[in-house]
Amino acid sequence: MAMKVVALAGNPNVGKTTIFNALTGMRQHVGNWPGVTVEKKEGVFEHRGQRFLVVDLPGTYSLTAHSIDELVARNFLLNGNPDVVVNVVDATSLLRNLYLTMEIFEMGLKNVVIALNKIDLAERKGIKIDVERMARVLGVPVVPLSAKEGKGLEVLKDRIWEVANGLIRENPIVPRYDPEVEREIEHISRVLEGTKLAAKYPLRWLAIKLLQRDAEVMKLVERYLGREGLEEVMTHINEVEERYGKAMDLVIAGQKYEFIDRLTHEFMSYGRPSGDAFTDQLDRLLIHPVYGFIAMALVFYGVFKFVFAFGLPLQEWLSDAFTLLGNWLAPHIANDVLRGLIVDGIIGGVGMVLSFFPLVFLLFLALSFLEDLGYMARVAVLMEGILRKFGLPGKAIIPLILGLGCNVPAVMSARTLDNEKDRLVTMFVNPFIPCSARLSVISFMAALFFGGKSALIAASIYVLAFAVALASAWLVSRFVPGETTPFVIELPEYLIPSGRSLLLHSWERSKEFVQKAGTVILLGAVIIWYLSNYPVPVGTGGSYAERIGHFFEPYMRLMGLDWRAAVSLLFGIIAKENVISTLGVIYGSPEAIRNAMAPLQGYVLTAVTTLYIPCIATIGAIKSEANWKWAAFTTAYMVAVASVVGILIWHLGVAMGLG
């Protein structure tokens, strides 16, 4: 039997993902919608012998043409021919949630099931909903759910099955507007009636969207009715608006809410109409203009404490395990070349990066916890005023913080931002944020050269990196075309996330790290191994790696460094930890490094390592999230900035007598 398609639509933060997970379990697939970087999640479940493909639409507040997410959701509802549309609504804020529902109904869909989520929470707040009455008023089945506790799921599956098999005749209610607005809707409908366009889309929906000046529908009208057809309609709308003295979209939105308000009075009664008391109390502290920032600093300090306290031992353990694996394997490989390639190249290189997996996973676990808790939205609010000055939206703080762990998932997380410009700028500056790999370089060098002052020195590198990142954001946002999106964000109520969804969420994100990083790093590890072992091993002066280093030596001299630094930096492109291991190979021991370089040189090398280029995995991530050009530009810009900073620090240092 063919699979039936179920589309899952709803606002962000209503528990759509929880319902998706509960329906499909682990049988899910994450990809992108064709042509855009909007995540597409699909999963499968079976009920009463029928298989269903669940498509999780992007969480949206409405279905306008103003954002990619909304367009993706809308186009799927209009053209994707889903057998059933499950509209997840939040029982604790029905008024706003039904706005999207009304837009879905206006599309003329007659296969909708409403999943009334968080019903337990609503009851606790004193909101009483007569579900049967609600279903009768809305004209579609309504299933009360408490997705967190898994209640109502079987009933939801029953309704989905019934709608998919045509057992329920629906009569969804559509909003009625004031007589004057209705007259205009009718007028435009008449103009469109009988055209090929009207055969493809519901007439009333087209008319309302035109009154709201929906760009995509205007394009459709132009395509089907020609430019004159569109002009005729728009001239009419201009006249209407002049008569009203107000934009029609404003009038329609206001009246839609009035309509919804009247509807809800038929099946809902409020106990206490205000928000959650716990959220109120907590927000008094967490979004306070002064205490909020202190709390934020403490929270992120806690996150890093947690990640490193548990992650570092695991990382060392894994790294030891890979070394043991290499040692165990070595005697079993007879061929010298093959042994070198597998043991030093692949296990040494890829193992080194894979050993960071526990850190990445724990970081995502902590950040997913904060996100699901509702705290990340608060951080975006706190940072909005500051980041906006540098051409970044407040929400960009999330990729920036993630970058401290690993820039690969950080770059990928930029896709949650509202527009292309914000995304590009955020991706562009992200590689400047020192990831955990660079933390290992920074702490190693600081301890080696500065002993007791190492924490201060390490901190100065972080300050430098963030300053460069912000300055670069300020600069580049001036040249990237496109408007900045006005800031508006929902602050969801605080909710302790379920362990299962946390693990699923973190696993999904960190899995991408292993997949994306793993493939490039495998290639990179092989290249390093080849360059440092051919035609003769590194250390003899004749390897390709050393020859490349010597080639760059004149350039490195500008910042007081030599060919050895060039070789280390070259290998650092594959993974930043390589900078230390390469120095180790070339000099032989940490003491030898300290004897060969002045502290100022050590500092310059640390600063340059932090700023000079995104690692290969990050370049790959920027390429796949934006394009090759943007990845190349980011890389070139970083090389330039690192050179300038390196030269400046060296010459300033020498002038101050530190050389």
Binding site: Q212, R213, L250, Y257, A380, V381, F487, V488
Partner: protein, 79 residues
Amino acid sequence: MVMNMIVPLSELQPGERGVVVDITGGSTLRSRLYAMGLAPGVVIRVIERYSMGPVVIEAGGTRLAVGKGMASKVLVRKI
């Protein structure tokens, strides 16, 4: 008299309430605000505001943070 009471949302202090009467500014901005629950006739309460940043409000049981520029385009009648 009533006209005097109409102010931009950005000028409301924490704790003050108002009814949305008009939203100026581009259609992208307007449609985003409608969908998030900020439309003519809706009662809002200011929770927090930042001198250089957004205004945090409650509207219809939901909390929203609205950027400063955006908040100056939402006109409300104080109540």
